[in-house]
Symmetry: C2
Subunit: 249 residues, 2 copies
C-alpha cells in the first residue's frame, strides 16, 4: 500500500467502465474494519449510481463535472440517527443531539472514508474527494433524504482513471511535525518552508493568470475568501442546528 | 493492505522495543500524500517520546495506560495557524477564524491520521486511537503549547504489539450503506441489524456486569451519557472559541 499512497493522485476523469458492485461492496466492507467510537460505527454511506440522482447532486457541488461523469458517487455522512433509533427500540435514552456527538460521528465517518480511499486506490480505482460537501449540506440533505442526526461530511467520486496527472507538491516533513511541543513559525521558517512551493512553475503561473502578487493571495482573495468562509460557516451552523446537532445551544 | 485492514485490531499493549525515528518519519511523510484542501495541508502532528511529556498528557486522556506505556504518542491537530502565518508574511488577508475552516482543517487532519494508521498497521505496528482528544482539548493545548487556530482532533499511541486481541464485531454492510437515498430504520430493521451484535457473549456479559437491561443502555447510561455529552459539548465550543475558530459568532 505504501507504493499506492506514495503515487496517489486525485483523479477527475474516468473511463466508461463501470465499478463492479461486488468490488465496491468488498471495499466498503473492508473499510468498515476502521476503528470507530465504542464500536458504534457512527456513519452511513449513500451510494449514487442513478444518472438523475447524479444530476441532482451536481449543483450541490457547484457543478463540478466529476459528479455526473463518475460511475459512482459516495456521500459519507456522520450518522447518530441509526444509533439513536437503536436506543429508542431498547429502552435507552440517547443523548447525541449535540456538537460533541457530531464531531465524534464526523471523525468516524472521515476515518472510514480515508481507509476506503486507500483501499480503492490500491486496487487501481481513481478518486476525487469533494470538499464542497460541507459548503451546501442542506441541499445534499434534501436530495438524499437525510433524517435528523445525519450530516454529510465527505463525497467521493469513484471510477477507473482516464488521466494521469502530475504528482502534486507537498511541504517538507519539518513543516508539519513538531517534537514534544508546538514550535511556532518565525518569518524565516515561513520563507524556508514555503518558498520551494511558491517557486514551482505551476504556482508562479497560477499567481500570474490571477493577477496577484503572491500565491497566498490566490487563496485568500479568490479560492477561500473570508467572506465566503464566514457565510458558509453560518450555513454550517444553521444546518447542524436543523439536523439537531446543536439542540443544546 | 487489504489483508492488514481486514485483520486490524486496536492495540493497547506494546513491547519495550522503540519505534525507529526513520520508520516513523517515513510513515508520516508517506501519509502526507493524502489529499488535502487546496493542497494547504491543514494539520500538524506533535510527536511525544519524552517520558515526562507522556505523564503530562496522560490525565488529558483520563489516565488511560497506553499514553505512558507506548513508545510514541502522536497528537494530530487541525491547523490553520501555519497557513495564516504564511498569509501574514505574503501580504494576504487570511479569513480562517471560523467554524467552516475548523471543519476543513479537522477533515484534513483526520484523513491524514487514517492513512498513517493504515500504513503503520501494514508495517506491523499497533495503534490505539484515543477519542478522548476532543473531550479535554484545553489541557492538551496547554501541555503541547498549541497556538490559536490549532486544535487537537486525534491522538494515536503507537508501538510494537504485545497482545493479539480478538477481532471486534461489525454491523452488516446493509446497516450502513444506502442506495440512492437514505432508507430509514423501522423497528424490524433495528432488530435484524443489531440482534446478532447484542447476542455476542462478550456483549451479553457487558450488559450483565453493568446491571443493565439492554446493550444500548450501557452506552446511554454509562459510556456516553447525555449529561457528559452536553457538558463536553460546551467545553468543545468554549475551546473552539478560545482557539479563535468561532470568532465570527
Amino acid at each position: 500500500m505504501n507504493n499506492s499512497v506514495e503515487n496517489r493522485r486525485t483523479i477527475r476523469k474516468y473511463t466508461s467502465e463501470p465499478v463492479d458492485e461486488a468490488l465496491l461492496n468488498e471495499l466498503l466492507a473492508t473499510a468498515m474494519r476502521t476503528q470507530t467510537m465504542g464500536n458504534l460505527q457512527l456513519y452511513s454511506v449513500v451510494v449514487t449510481r442513478d444518472e438523475e440522482m447524479k444530476c441532482r447532486l451536481s449543483p450541490c457541488h457547484f457543478g463540478q463535472p466529476m459528479v455526473t461523469q463518475a460511475p459512482v458517487v459516495l456521500t459519507i455522512c456522520a450518522d447518530f440517527h441509526r444509533t439513536t433509533r437503536w436506543c429508542q427500540e431498547r429502552q435507552a435514552d440517547p443523548g447525541y443531539d449535540n456538537l460533541l456527538s457530531f464531531l465524534n460521528a464526523a471523525s468516524d465517518a472521515l476515518l472510514f472514508t480515508q481507509t476506503f480511499c486507500n483501499l480503492a486506490e490500491e486496487r487501481g480505482l481513481g478518486i476525487c474527494y469533494l470538499g464542497t460537501t460541507i459548503y451546501q449540506p442542506q441541499q445534499i440533505i434534501d436530495v438524499l433524504g437525510l433524517p435528523e442526526l445525519v450530516m454529510p461530511v465527505a463525497t467521493l467520486t469513484v471510477g477507473w482513471p482516464d488521466e494521469e496527472p502530475a504528482l502534486s507538491d507537498r511541504l517538507p516533513l519539518e513543516a508539519l511535525v513538531h517534537n514534544e511541543t508546538y514550535k511556532d513559525y518565525a518569518r524565516e521558517d515561513i520563507d524556508r518552508l514555503y518558498t520551494p512551493k511558491e517557486q514551482l512553475p505551476e504556482n508562479r503561473n497560477f499567481v500570474e493568470i490571477n493577477h496577484k502578487q503572491t500565491l497566498a493571495q490566490v487563496f485568500t482573495d479568490l479560492r477561500y475568501t473570508r467572506r465566503d468562509n464566514e457565510a458558509l460557516s453560518q450555513v454550517l451552523i444553521d444546518t447542524l442546528r436543523s439536523q439537531h446537532f446543536l439542540s443544546g445551544d
